[in-house]
Structure formats: C-alpha cells, structure tokens
Symmetry: C2
C-alpha cells in the first residue's frame, strides 16, 4: 500500500485523482528546520517508517522569491504567520523584483533506502493580494501567462496548470513504469 | 551536573565565566521548524534527556526586525545563508524601518518537567555591514546608544552589553537562590 502523508483533504483528493490506489495517512511528522525542501521531505519519509508499514509519499509546495534568493521557500508558513501576504507583496515591490517560482517537490519512499523525488514548478510574479485568502499564498501568486492569481482561479483551473499536478504526473509515470 | 549544550566554544566560555560549574555538552539536537524560540529550546531540552543524565541549558540568540514583525527571529541562519547581511540590511532600508531587537532566550531544564526561561534583549538598528564578518549578523546590528556594530566591538565590549550576558545573569541568580 502507498500512503500519501497529509492532513490536507484537498491535497489528498488531487493526489487520489491521479493515483487512485493511494491512501491518505494523517500523521503529524516533525518538520526539521531547513530550507532545502528535499531534506525536509527525506526526514519525514524516514520517520514515517517508524509509524506504519507501506510505501510513503510526502510533498512540499513552496514559494521562492527571486529578490530573496529563494526565500521564503519551505519557510513560507512563518512568513505568512508574521508579515502575511501583504508583507510578502511589499517586500517584492520594495526590493524591485517580483519574480517568483511556485514549486512542488514530491518524495516517494519505496523503503528506507529507496527515495525518489519529482518536481513541478511554475514561474510567476508576486502581486498585491487578490482573490479568496483561504489558501496560503495563493492570493499573491500570478502565474506567468495568466491574468488571475491562484486565489482567483477555480480549483479546476488551478489544478490544470499546477506545479503539484506536474510533479504528480511524473510520480505517476514512474510508478507505472514498474518502479 | 549542569550541561550547557552547544558546539560553540565562544558561547560556552561566556557561560563558564558566569557559571563556573557548568560543563559543555556538544551534541547535535534536532532543531524543529518554529519561530517561537521557546518552543525550539523546549524541544531540544526534552530531547537532551534521551542523550545524557543531568540538568541542561540551551540558548537561542536571534535578531528580530520590526519591519518584518519579528522575522527572522530563530530563522536568522537561513536568511544569512541565502540573502546574507547585505540582503538583510537592504530589506530594513527598503522597508523604511531599521529598528530591531537582539534577544537571547536561555532554557534551563532541571528535569523533563521543570523548564525555566530567562531572557535578555538589546534594542538597536540594522545598518549596512561594518566590521569583521565572522560571527553571523554582528556586522549589521548597531545597539542603541553605541556607535559601533557588534562586529566592530572587542569581545569584552560586546559581552559587557550583551543580551546573552543579561540572560545568563538571570539564570545565575535563579540557580544561586536555591532553585
């Protein structure tokens, strides 16, 4: 059995739509202090084997600002908690460079030794918050080639161009190819 | 025996000068992803009891920017690693508010249940890097009332006004008062 480890029902549904055999496992794994998303994922996957039997998937979706040389990255939750989307947009504006990348990294652990990573990334710009604010940094990310922030798109629209979808498709191919 | 957990010889010497009975314990404890320094310290102290017998001291010294509502705080190392002191100074300048606080929090665990915290803080301003750059963010922190950044001061000058010294003095008093 392959488990996708998350407490987020929406994320799990997106995974399930592409990998129907995957089940949700809602356990709380410690997040180490790191800005390398792969290291964070690897630590969680290794820890997962202490909680359950099976194969595991962990994902990290983060926002990387050009003007901050890759910050906030996986530290995005703390930026949201302190300065929020308004503060994030202000930094990009005041530093004079609003380019950013939204990136999903998926880690798949077949066992403790065999861990594989799959990435999907979308380039875009940081703008003043627009749209529903109920999903993290979605209101400030305007993907290149679109005129709506992630928060202004329907879930279908967003999934269509999403970095998570891209990463999941790569994992799906990998699993189908016989591992 | 009371152990001060650190890999940093300079920090240990400062502690030892105020608490002569304390010994150094150089073990690597996991740093959880958090911006609440007390939570980070508490997790480390709790974990320490799985490594050794005794009483433990863990400290966190971080820099809190007014313009970032408290960031970077304990995330300072990642800011230094990515944008560096130049980038940090630029943020304070461009956001138009260079006020900051350098704060040390010391956690002392007598046992797993009894954990005490002691704080020392110094207000100051973020300036363009000046002085030796071999100690983290010292070159950009100008304490209020002084005309030198921490990096431009001798170790003695710095210890004299240091937030770590203040916190240590509080811990020292607490220990002398019979716990």
């Amino acid at each position: 059995m392959i488990y996708f480890i998350t407490g987020n029902k929406n994320k799990f549904e997106e995974v399930k739509s592409i990998l129907p055999d995957v089940e949700q496992l809602d356990i709380d794994l410690p997040e180490i202090q790191e800005i390398d998303a792969k290291e964070i994922i690897k630590t969680k996957l290794t820890e997962a084997f202490n909680h359950a039997d099976g194969e595991f998937i962990v994902e990290d979706t983060s926002l990387y600002f050009d003007c901050l040389k890759g910050l906030p990255g996986p530290l995005i939750k703390w930026f949201l908690q302190t300065i929020g989307n308004d503060g994030l947009a202000e930094i990009a504006e005041k530093l004079g460079n609003n380019k950013a990348e939204a990136k999903t990294i998926i880690g798949y652990a077949k066992n403790r030794e065999e861990i594989y990573f799959f990435e999907g990334a979308i380039k875009g710009r940081i703008v003043n918050p627009k749209g529903e604010t109920n999903f993290g940094w979605d209101p400030i990310f305007l993907p290149d080639g679109y005129e709506k922030t992630f928060a202004e798109m329907s879930r279908e629209e967003k999934n269509e161009i999403s970095m998570r979808r891209n990463a999941l498709n790569k994992l799906s191919e990998f699993l189908r190819s016989g591992k």
